[in-house]
Each structure stands twice: as C-alpha cells, then as structure tokens.
C-alpha cells in the first residue's frame, strides 16, 4: 500500500526566512506532485516531478525529487505572507494517487 508522509505538519515561520517541507513515500512511484490549498479553496498544482534528480522552481518555491530515497522536498526561500497556505504532496503510480496529510504553513510578519 502506498503511503505518503509529510514533515512538518504545521509550520510557523517569519517573513524572510527559509525552510524545507519534506515528503516521504513508501513504495514505487512514477510521479510526485506538490499542491497548494488556500482555506476554503480547491487544490492548485504547483509542481510535477517525473524523474530522479528533478528540480523545479517557481518564485520562492523550489521542489526536488530523490526517487532512491523516496523523498521530495519543497524549499521556501525568503518567505512572504502570501505563501501562507496548506501544501500537499501526492505520489502517483499509474492512475493511483495518494496524498500526504498536508503541511499547514503560516508566514508571520
């Protein structure tokens, strides 16, 4: 059974600081996704990572994938308040998607 864990589950950080969210998955996966969810809203796709060593960056967010360690990271650089949201990683194999529990991020002024 494919399981996905995220660490930390809650993160409170000050503006301007850097931090990393970790996503571990338990079995073979062929794609790894990161999503953002604002309160009361649906999920917005941030990154799709397809291969070992893949790195993608958008603004202050950078995602990477290590398939050998079954680990993906979402790095936040110089956080700003607008990044406050819940971030989910999801591992996929074929049409089977499994979501992590989410990391609730609060960026404080």
């Amino acid at each position: 059974e494919l399981k996905v864990e995220q660490n930390p589950l809650f993160l409170s950080m000050q503006e301007g600081k850097n931090y990393t969210i970790y996503c571990n998955y338990s079995t073979t996966s062929d794609r790894l996704y990161w999503y953002r969810q604002d309160p009361g809203k649906s999920l917005e796709s941030l990154f799709v990572l397809l291969s070992n060593g893949a790195v993608k960056q958008e603004g202050r967010l950078m995602a990477s994938l290590d398939t050998k360690a079954r680990l993906s990271t979402l790095h936040i650089t110089a956080a700003v308040h607008d990044l406050s949201a819940t971030y989910f990683c999801a591992s996929a194999y074929g049409q089977n998607f499994v979501f992590g529990p989410g990391t609730r991020l609060s960026v404080l002024p």
């Binding site: 794609r31 996704y33 009361g40 809203k41 649906s42 999920l43 796709s45 799709v48 989910f88 999801a90 996929a92 049409q95 998607f97 979501f99 992590g100 529990p101 989410g102």
Partner: protein, 117 residues
C-alpha cells in the same frame, strides 16, 4: 490543463437528506475521480467513475451512500445520501490530464463544500 466545473460550490443541508454534486469537464476523459476532504484533513479518494461501467469504490465507501453516475465522457455526478453531520466536507471532482505536458497530472474542480446540520 483541464477546466473542471462543479456545482453547487457550497450548500447547507439537513440531516437525513441527499444532495447531488455535478462535475463538468471541458474535454473528454476516461476516468473521473471523486475525493472527500474532511475539515482540516487530507484528501481521501471515494471512487473512480468510469464511463459505461459502474464506479469503483475505495475501502470504506459504498454505492448506497455515494451513488455515482457517469453518463458521458465529460460529466459525472456524486450523490451524498442520507447525510449526517459527519458528511460535512469538501467534495472534489478531479481528472487526469491526457494531452501534452499535462499528461498524468491530476486537476481539480473548485470543490463543493457541504455542511450538514
């Protein structure tokens, strides 16, 4: 990317009633997925809706409680039957992209937020 429209976007329902959520996609897709997100929780797959056959339900979800229709390749409905307060959740329709760089990516509708009193 796929454009997915859901309605209603939100509703307040009475215990014991049923509500049907509609999901419309702007392109033909083989499979549509229905997820539930309980307050403060992650997403849980309810079922996969296949056109021309019965939906496939995940463990813990049954057809009597969550009947699904899939009349064509762009539309599906999920009914939440005999609702109780524990059914208060966001229900999300999703599809997997099938063209170009979107292939394999999971796209979501806006969600339907149900509150059961």
């Amino acid at each position: 990317s796929a454009v997915i429209s859901q309605k209603p976007s939100r509703d307040i329902c009475q215990r014991g009633t049923s509500l049907t959520i509609q999901c419309q996609v702007d392109s033909q897709v083989t499979m549509m997925f229905w997820y539930r997100q309980q307050p403060g929780q992650s997403l849980t797959l309810i079922a996969t809706a296949n056109q021309g056959s019965e939906a496939t339900y995940e463990s813990g979800f049954v057809i009597d409680k969550f009947p699904i229709s899939r009349p064509n390749l762009t539309f599906s409905t999920l009914t939440v039957s005999n609702m109780s307060p524990e059914d208060s959740s966001i229900y999300l329709c999703s599809v997997v992209g099938t063209s170009g760089s979107n292939t394999g990516e999971l796209f979501f509708g806006e969600g339907s937020r149900l509150t059961v009193l």
